[in-house]
Amino acid sequence: MNEWKRQHPAAIFISFLNNLKQMIITLIAVFIFGQSSQAASPVFYSILFSGILLFSISQGFISWWKFYYHLKEDELLIKQGLIFRKNRYIRKDRIQSIDINAKLVQRLFGLVEVRIETAGGGSEPEFRIIALKREEAEEIKRQLLTKYEKKSPLSLEQIESETFIEENPFWFLQRDEKDLSHEREEKAETNASIDEDETPEFKWELGSRRLLIAALTSSGVGIAATFIAAVVSQAPQFLPEWLIDHVIGWFIHSSILLIGGTLVSILFAAWLFTLVGTILKYGFFTLKKRKDDIHISRGVLEQRQLTLNATRITAVRIVQSPIRQLFDYVSIYVESAGGGTKEEDLSTILTPLCKRNEVEGIVAEIIPEFAFTPQYEGLPKESLRRYMIKLIVPSLLVAGVVTYFVPYGWISVFLPVIAALLGYVQYRSAGITQYNDFLCIRSRAIAKSEVYLPRRRIQDMESSQNILQKFDDLYTIHVAVLTTMVGKTFSLRHISKQQMKQNELWYSYEATKAFQEEKTSNGDEEA
């Protein structure tokens, strides 16, 4: 453990594949969406491809050859780079979480990837060592997370309401040294006492039946369909000309049913894609809780492990797509300061699928303070037409244009009808309420989503009123919380003045004091 080490040589292959994947994706994107009417010569393509291949291999080799890590008592040192050398010192006390993942390529070699997330972050909050033997990875994890005496922890409150040292330009340094170290040490301490074998306090598994339901009802069909349609639309370039003429001729003569049929088959293919994708992503989904740490592991081919500190959770979201609404299934997401993943919009999925009435039970085990089922207060009736008009107007425009220019375009008159319906459903779903120290907002774009926001996590509250809303004295409410890397704002459109007032009163730190008298004295007038 006392010298500089390289990664497993398989790292060459792994980073080669990663590079290749990225470049090919870029190429495909350029190919599909770019103008490729003037097809370049095959020679050009083969040179281009061999160039890319060569570049990827050499880059993979260099990144293995010039990458050293050195695990010390209380830090991990990393040297990397051929031309631009970079030395990184990852101090034990700054480490936020260490995840051990086994992606598909790594599994081919029986290796794992170590992902280290550091506190504060800056430009590179995340760090990866892509090819290690599992024992080595476990060793790193153990080393970096142990051997600390317990000290006072730094909670999320302290990060959010950070010690105010305004005169000192180096306040952030002080923060690093003093406070975060405590926090890490405390976390390390908790982690250290945990053995992998120790039984968790709570364990929840998705199970194969639910996995299948989750896959069958997964959304994302739209995205996949767009992609497939793009690929299909590009296909003619690779087909001989007589075939295209034939097909086009056939299309022109054929009925609308055929076009509809093509659409349906594209959708079906897209659905199959998302089905398989969901199964691979959420297979073997397990949620565990040990002390303050939430452990999530999932994935069939690419195995992912996430560790999340329960005290860092800033909001809980419960999402229900229309199909899942039919069967009363929901998924639970959490927003947290650190730990979120890009593919989930910087949130973390806590439960991919469960019944709505199970939510409270699961949440009670994981994050007890969020365990409740609020009763929402609907919006005033003046809001209804706003929700509907907002969707009807653009769809009418689209329908008008389509009807005018496209044969059979009149079918699009259904668009405004669907829009009106959606607007109505959005209005029905919208609701807001306060449950003790939580603000709960329910809203719908297409999927219905509920969000629970604790008052002490809300960074600011904003009300906005546009000119149209002024006629009926309606407001839009915005509340911001801290999530991974960025702040996230949750909004609800067209709430009544009374509701806005109530929320301001609930949130305002001044209102709880100074305005209380005024509230009581103005009570009659208000009523």
């Binding site: 105010f164 600011d460 509250m461 904003e462 906005s464 949130y507 305002s508 305005f515």
Partner: protein
């Protein structure tokens, strides 16, 4: 209902805004210029050119002389012991409540034009968001910054 915030921005701020919007309105001249350029290549009627010029000029004048004024009139802030409240916006009126205990840092900053008029902007940051009070006199801005900093430091974390 809570009282509206009552502190206005510095009067000279309006002047700065007028200068800044006048300058940025010049960018809009690109539209008629672009049309003129296209006219040189294709055979297009000339009247849209005059229409675009008229629209750009009227729009810019309205923006500089009316909207900035309305904007300035609407801008209000208020510092309470436990929170900051801001109100601004012409077409969309926004009111923001920032509790003192959520304030992470306050800065003052000024660009060249603000500096020329001896003005400064106060920025208030929370863990998730950043807000600005644009255009206070230098003296006021510094006082305000120190005041907010003081209040934020004193804010009771148990609240």
């Amino acid at each position: 209902m809570r009282p509206l915030p009552d502190q206005p921005l510095a009067e000279k701020t309006l002047k700065v805004w007028k200068i800044v919007t006048s300058l940025s309105s010049l960018v809009n001249l690109l539209f008629p210029l672009a049309y003129w350029g296209v006219m040189q290549i294709f055979n297009l009627p000339a009247w849209p050119l005059y229409l675009i010029i008229a629209l750009v000029v009227i729009g810019s004048l309205l923006n500089v002389f009316l909207i900035q004024k309305l904007q300035w009139n609407r801008w209000r802030y208020k510092i309470y012991a436990n929170e900051i409240e801001l109100m601004h916006g012409v077409f969309v009126v926004r009111r923001v409540i920032i509790p003192m205990i959520r304030v992470q840092h306050v800065d003052t900053k000024q660009g060249p034009i603000l500096r020329h008029y001896n003005l400064a902007t106060v920025t208030v940051s929370t863990a998730a968001t950043t807000h600005e009070i644009p255009g206070l006199t230098m003296e006021n801005a510094e006082k305000l910054r120190d005041h907010i900093a003081q209040l934020a430091r004193e804010a009771d974390p148990d609240e």
